[in-house]
């Protein structure tokens, strides 16, 4: 277990956290506005592919990024359109987005590259790694904090920015009011649908970056089903953090930690692979249960205090 003390380990924890963190931010903003996006998984997958394809064909990172973000936003808006205007249940639309993306990405990939599995025959671009000038020279922390992919740092900025947006601005107040009680919000003049679409716009952007981190950052090509459940995990993180972006960041760090430790354990121990792979999920469900129980206890205690105060 010596690896826990190494800088490489903590570096991989932060790197492994990035996609889940971005997905969690997407889940946070959507559920703050009172919706539930089961389609984050598929949205990320589509962005991952589009970013790779467009960057490969135009050889422009900027256009690739734009395509990835745009496809994320389009799929998120599709969720909004079908649930808000055509009154479809959110779960079903989310499932439809996932099925659509899972199949269509493979369809497009096969047509363009001839391979069902990977886009490695295309030379696609990747987001650069960033070395932060002063921090990189700090002995241990420098190796942990510096040298990450650009999207990782963007994600950190997003997490802080999103919590500022939600709790310190007018739009954030509108979003939270809509999420609490859409009818009450509408009655005081908030255009709830417009507010929800703004939330979905941010969701699409976060999903887009999350997906592109996988195919244009962590790896250099797209592989089929490369999101591998991270979109679903983000929903667990969202519940865990009761939709607070900074807590969500903490929750996804927990996932990054358990995922990385799983990878390291598989390298260094001879226990069965499958059991170790189940570890993050068991861990998360335990934390989820404990957090939720504690929260219930807190609510009950608050009620008791209020009763006594009367």
């Amino acid at each position: 277990m010596n690896f826990i003390l190494s800088a490489d380990f903590w570096f991989s924890v932060l790197a492994g956290t990035t996609p889940v963190m971005l997905a969690t931010l997407a889940a946070n903003i959507v559920s703050q506005s009172g919706m539930f996006n089961l389609g984050i998984e598929g949205t990320m997958l589509m962005s991952a592919l589009m970013g790779v394809l467009v960057s490969a064909f135009t050889q422009s990172l900027f256009l690739g990024m734009l395509a990835g973000l745009l496809s994320g936003i389009i799929l998120s808006f599709a969720l909004g359109y079908f649930t808000l205007y055509l009154e479809a249940p959110m779960n079903s639309v989310g499932v439809a987005i996932n099925l659509f993306s899972a199949g269509v990405t493979v369809f497009v990939l096969t047509l363009i590259t001839g391979s069902k599995v990977t886009s490695s025959s295309l030379t696609s671009l990747t987001f650069p790694a960033v070395h932060i000038p002063l921090i990189r020279d700090i002995p241990f922390l420098g190796r942990v904090l510096s040298g990450h992919n650009l999207i990782t740092y963007l994600g950190w900025i997003f997490a802080v920015g999103l919590s500022f947006l939600l709790y310190r601005t007018r739009l954030g107040l509108d979003i939270r009011a809509t999420g609490r009680n859409a009818e009450a919000a509408a009655s005081v003049g908030i255009q709830t649908n417009r507010v929800r679409f703004k939330a979905l716009l941010l969701c699409g952007i976060f999903c887009g970056f999350g997906g592109m981190y996988l195919s244009m950052g962590a790896l250099k090509s797209f592989t089929a089903n490369m999101v591998a459940g991270r979109g679903f995990l983000s929903l667990a993180m969202d519940t865990l953090s009761s939709s607070h972006p900074l807590l969500g960041w903490g929750g996804s760090l927990l996932y990054g930690f358990s995922e990385t430790i799983t990878i390291y354990l598989q390298l260094y121990s001879d226990a069965d692979l499958k059991v170790i792979s189940a570890f993050p999920y068991i861990f998360i469900i335990l934390v989820l249960v404990i957090a939720q129980l504690a929260r219930n206890l807190l609510v009950r205690r608050k009620k008791n205090i209020q009763l006594k105060g009367r």
């Binding site: 539930f36 089961l38 599709a78 079908f82 205007y85 055509l86 009154e87 479809a88 249940p89 779960n91 079903s92 639309v93 499932v95 439809a96 987005i97 996932n98 099925l99 659509f100 993306s101 899972a102 199949g103 269509v104 493979v106 369809f107 096969t110 047509l111 069902k116 459940g229 679903f232 995990l233 929903l235 667990a236 519940t239 069965d272 499958k274 059991v275 792979s277 189940a278 999920y281 068991i282 998360i284 469900i285 989820l288 249960v289 939720q292 129980l293 219930n296």
Partner: protein
């Protein structure tokens, strides 16, 4: 009496299309989605007519491919029926994948580790899988009851846990240490034998038929089915009329999960020589889609499942002789689910018709009063 007043007395014709609008709506959604798939094929394929011909007529080429449609549909029907019960009880419980996978694992354990007696082994395997599936499917709801953890989220976690747990059981106790990852071969007497020679149709089809009839009877004709649907449609009402909602919901999860578990066992013992599922199964989404296409009526689920299986097999046959990958069906899946789910899709026609009918009703009623 002038002409205008005359026309008021004639009640408008009730149109068959509008009276069965929910079914017509689904048919239109399907037609729309299919035509989009055809359009995509038309633009992408080198030889579009060959591709479409293969997609539509391919499964009818031989008995073998025709039966393979039904074989492909069987697990979808099982999960479709499971999802039907679960969704009608008002819980979006997607823990059926875990139940399905564990069902297959436990059936393999029974088939490989217990002494084989023809008939008994199969019965024990399916029974054990059904029980385990039922319990697995209850977990998210139980967890929600005591901790208020979102059941969708916990079901997703449980699916992963049971997938890894099941794969662990196979690789620790049943693994054959040679070549590819997989268990030892099942003894021939422990499998579900062939029902129709020259195909892979096994006796599981008969069990499926019994389960199907049972579910239709349960949901449409029994008090329990009525209670499940009441709890799902209006929980407040159900509580107010004195139904024990918690118990009924749990019961529905158990029934649904046991059908999914049974499906896993039957799929494994019927279609496979050994346990080979190295990846997690993804039948829940198919089950959900099939349930929605059947308009929530369990009686139609086999039809819609066979339709989906038909398209899958057809697209695979198509991909063998053209450049179109079989994943083209995903367009259809996505579009159809979204359109069928959207309650406002084609809502205008139905609303207009309803208004016309009720207006006529009111008019003829008031005519009667004043006459």
């Amino acid at each position: 009496m002038n002409k205008k007043e005359m026309s008021v007395n004639i009640p408008p014709r009730r149109s068959i299309i509008m009276e069965n609008f929910s079914i017509v709506r689904i048919a239109i959604a399907l037609a729309l989605a299919l035509s989009i798939v055809f359009i995509i094929i038309y633009f992408v394929a080198d030889d579009p007519w060959l591709a479409i011909n293969r997609l539509v007529a391919g499964p009818f080429q031989s008995w073998r491919s025709f039966f393979s449609v039904i074989e492909r549909a069987m697990p979808i029907i099982f999960t479709g029926l499971a999802m039907n019960i679960v969704l009608q009880s008002g819980v979006f419980n997607i823990g059926q994948d875990g139940a399905f996978y564990m069902g297959a694992v436990l059936a393999s354990v029974v088939a490989l580790k217990l002494p084989t007696i023809v008939g008994v082994t199969q019965f024990v395997a399916i029974f054990v899988s059904a029980m385990a599936g039922g319990i697995i499917s209850m977990l998210p709801v139980l967890l929600y009851r005591y901790t208020k953890v979102n059941p969708i989220v916990s079901a997703i976690m449980f699916n992963s846990i049971f997938y890894y747990g099941g794969a662990y059981i196979v690789s620790t106790f049943l693994l054959e240490r040679s070549g590819t990852w997989g268990s030892h071969a099942f003894p021939k007497e422990a499998k579900l034998g062939l029902m129709i020679p020259k195909s892979k149709m096994h006796w599981g089809a008969l069990i499926l038929l019994i389960v199907y009839l049972g579910v239709v009877y349960l949901m449409r004709k029994t008090a329990l089915g009525m209670k499940i649907r009441t709890v799902g449609l209006n929980p407040t009402f159900a509580t107010n009329v004195g139904l024990n909602s918690g118990l009924i919901i749990l019961g529905a999860q158990f029934l649904g999960g046991s059908i999914a578990g049974m499906g896993g066992a039957i799929e494994m013992l019927g279609m496979y020589q050994r346990f080979l599922w190295q990846g997690p199964v993804n039948y829940v989404w198919d089950g959900l889609m099939v349930h929605m296409l059947a308009n929530g009526n369990p009686a139609f689920i086999p039809v819609t499942a066979i339709f989906i299986a038909f398209l899958r097999i057809g697209s695979e046959i198509m991909s063998r002789s053209t450049n179109i990958p079989p994943e083209v069906v995903a367009f259809l899946q996505g579009i159809v689910i979204v359109l069928v789910a959207s309650s406002k899709f084609l809502y205008g026609f139905k609303a207009k018709y309803d208004r016309k009918i009720s207006l006529a009703q009111v008019r003829s009623d008031s005519e009667g009063e004043f006459a």
